[in-house]
């Protein structure tokens, strides 16, 4: 229970619900009901059924033989990139829209950066026939046109966030403002393990299907559920939370989180929160946060739009502080090279977010018997433009 959220919503010193009073009833309603709702057998069977028949779970655990040969270890890829809509994000949106229905909500709002969570939200809203509004930074709308159109095709309304730097952080601010203004009929589907309690815990639980499957797949494959390493990239940290969740108390399993170093941790253009952040409060929780000495939030940078968030989820801040998870970082260059390498050696073009996790392989000293699981959180289709601009292939 050492790494579980406590009854006050904290992981060690991190977490909590730092929200204005206008959001208090919404958050309180969710806090009081989420565990009961998601533990109901009827909820679980509907959730499991949709993950199986709609998302396509379980996703394969694939032994990457050529990669294994190169890095001299047994490297498995957890194929979240094969989920419907192309990333792990939909595990959470399926769960949350079912919660929203149980709470009697009619409308859904969400924030999105690169558009993956927005697409996953628009998808489940279409599936359930619910109204959907997605806030997206004006700058991201311009950078991620295809995902904007995917959301529109799915029937969602995409609203540009024109405040601040017009990226993910500002889209999240706008979604929270919308929720303040529409407190009773609307549920806010947060896309990562961030936000006020109970969101980090709720989203972790919905994503924990990833590590649950890894365990049973490893038993089938190798006779025991414990790999030596689990590696995942971290922006806000939802795919990492899911990939680590059922291994947190198995202390002999090395858990590795990979942040985006952008142009280098000390370049001033980075999103490596644990290296650069200090304890702070943003979007309703206390965590590690990239900020100025005066407490103003700093705009992060990464070539990967899904990793340029100025904070990390409070669970991850706690896992960092306790040393349970080893935090590494990969630069834009390292991630892009890893993405090309995976494409060439295994025939899988990864999302640039996930390529950061692959890039960690060369930073670890692996033994030949080591079993390494990389959570391949998304596919690279959405990043084709970035790969083309990168050009070095």
């Amino acid at each position: 229970m050492k790494y579980q959220v406590n009854e006050k919503g904290f992981y060690g010193q991190f977490g909590g619900a730092y929200i204005p009073e206008m959001l208090y009833p919404n958050i309180e309603e969710l806090r009081l009901q989420y565990l009961q709702i998601i533990n109901e057998p009827s909820f679980q069977s509907e959730f499991d059924q949709l993950l199986k028949d709609y998302v396509g779970r379980p996703t394969p655990l694939f032994l990457a033989k050529r990669l294994s040969k190169k890095y001299k270890a047994n490297i498995y890829l957890k194929r979240e990139d094969l989920c419907h809509t192309g990333a792990h994000k939909i595990n959470n949106t399926i769960g949350q829209i079912l919660v929203a229905k149980k709470l009697g909500k009619q409308k859904i709002i969400a924030e999105t950066g690169a558009g993956q969570h927005g697409v996953a939200t628009a998808t489940v809203c279409a599936l359930m026939g619910m109204e959907c509004i997605v806030y997206m930074g004006q700058l991201d709308i311009e950078r991620q046109r295809p995902n904007v159109e995917r959301m529109r095709i799915l029937g969602a309304k995409v609203v540009p966030a024109t405040s601040g730097n017009m990226t993910l952080k500002d889209a999240t601010n706008e979604a929270m403002r919308h929720w303040i203004n529409h407190p009773t009929d609307t549920h806010y589907i947060i896309g990562s393990v961030v936000g006020p309690h109970p969101y980090p815990d709720m989203v972790s639980r919905f994503q924990s299907v990833i590590s649950e499957e890894i365990k049973s797949q490893l038993i089938h494959e190798l006779g025991n559920p414990f790999p030596d390493y689990v590696i995942a990239c971290v922006g806000g940290g939802s795919n990492a939370a899911g990939a680590f969740y059922h291994f947190l108390n198995d202390e002999h399993v090395n858990l590795v989180a990979v942040e985006a170093a952008g142009k280098g941790v000390d370049s001033g253009e980075s999103a490596a929160t644990t290296a650069l952040g200090k304890v702070g409060i943003l979007h309703g929780s206390k965590s590690l946060l990239m900020q100025t000495a005066d407490g103003q939030v700093v705009e992060p940078y990464s070539i990967s739009a899904g990793l340029d968030y100025p904070g990390i989820g409070p669970l991850h801040a706690h896992l960092f502080e306790t040393g349970r998870v080893q935090f590494l970082s990969a630069t834009d260059d390292e991630a892009m090279n890893a993405g090309i390498e995976l494409s060439r050696m295994e025939g899988i073009i990864p999302a640039i977010e996930s390529a950061h996790a692959v890039a960690a392989l060369s930073q670890l000293s692996l033994n030949e018997d080591d079993v390494v699981v990389i959570n391949l959180s998304g596919r690279g289709d959405k990043d084709l433009e970035t790969y083309i601009r990168w050009g070095k292939y």
């Binding site: 730092y18 206008m22 601010n173 005066d294 407490g295």
Partner: protein
């Protein structure tokens, strides 16, 4: 010295006018002259905003004032220095209002101590949870002779309003609707019913109504039910267009009252 907020609410029970503006807006050093003009115009209390990069409870007007103030170079340290200067000429109660993160970086104890020394009377920190205040702020704040005001909204339960009332010394900030700042104009029946409900609760503290108070009509409406009103976005809008703060602020206040 007795806390100025506490004194004000002991003496005055009706038509209290409190005005919010962002420190360092529209120009870095306008903070003092605006405070002086507000006092001269007859406002009862000032809420001085600490700008933050991510003001989630604010609408576009106050968001913009935060950004401009930060671009102008406003910091917590500078704000406290300006407050010291303001206190040489301004005697109305002054509350510091802002989001928690800049305060956290400054250091909670240091902030409370320095704010008291600079002449603040208390705080409004909308994202500070009530329970955390009771556990780790209250004794510190009271030890320095300051008060903290909490927000309540139409969706706040009666039980929680009672809890806020018990924790408060000074006044309660009643948000008029479930909204961000500066998004509403005028009040509907539900809001008036909420004002009446608050009035009938016989709270030990006075309460002021804010959010949606922008002109004489809305000011007078809320004063019928509450001990007074808080004006924020409408005043920030005035500052945006004003070329003569002294004169325009006087006119603005005289038109309200």
């Amino acid at each position: 010295m007795k806390n100025r907020v506490v004194s004000l609410f002991e003496k005055k029970k009706k038509n209290i006018l409190s005005v919010f503006y962002t420190a360092g807006f529209p120009s870095l050093n306008a903070t003092k002259e605006i405070a002086e003009a507000l006092q001269q115009g007859g406002v009862d209390m000032i809420e001085l905003g600490i700008p933050f990069s991510d003001p989630v409870a604010d609408g576009p007007t106050i968001q913009a004032s935060n950004k401009i103030a930060l671009d102008n170079g406003m910091t917590v340290t500078l704000l406290l220095e300006q407050l010291k200067q303001i206190r040489k000429t301004v005697s109305v109660p002054i509350l510091l209002m802002g989001y928690l993160n800049p305060v956290l970086q400054y250091g909670i104890e240091r902030f409370v101590k320095d704010a008291a020394a600079a002449g603040a009377d208390g705080f409004i920190l909308p994202d500070l949870p009530l329970d955390e205040y009771l556990d780790s702020w209250q004794s510190l704040v009271e030890q320095h002779g300051l008060v903290t005001t909490f927000l309540i909204s139409p969706t706040t339960s009666e039980e929680r309003i009672r809890k806020v009332d018990a924790a408060t010394k000074g006044f309660i900030y009643a948000v008029s609707s479930s909204s961000t700042t500066g998004t509403r104009t005028g009040f509907d029946e539900d809001q008036v019913a909420y004002f009446k409900r608050l009035q009938s609760m016989q709270l030990k503290n006075s309460f002021l109504i804010g959010f949606g108070v922008s002109n004489r009509e809305t000011y007078q409406t809320v004063c019928e039910y509450a001990n007074g009103a808080i004006i924020g976005s409408a005043f920030i809008k005035l500052l945006q267009s004003s070329t003569n703060h002294q004169q325009d602020i006087q006119t603005f206040i005289s038109q309200l009252k």
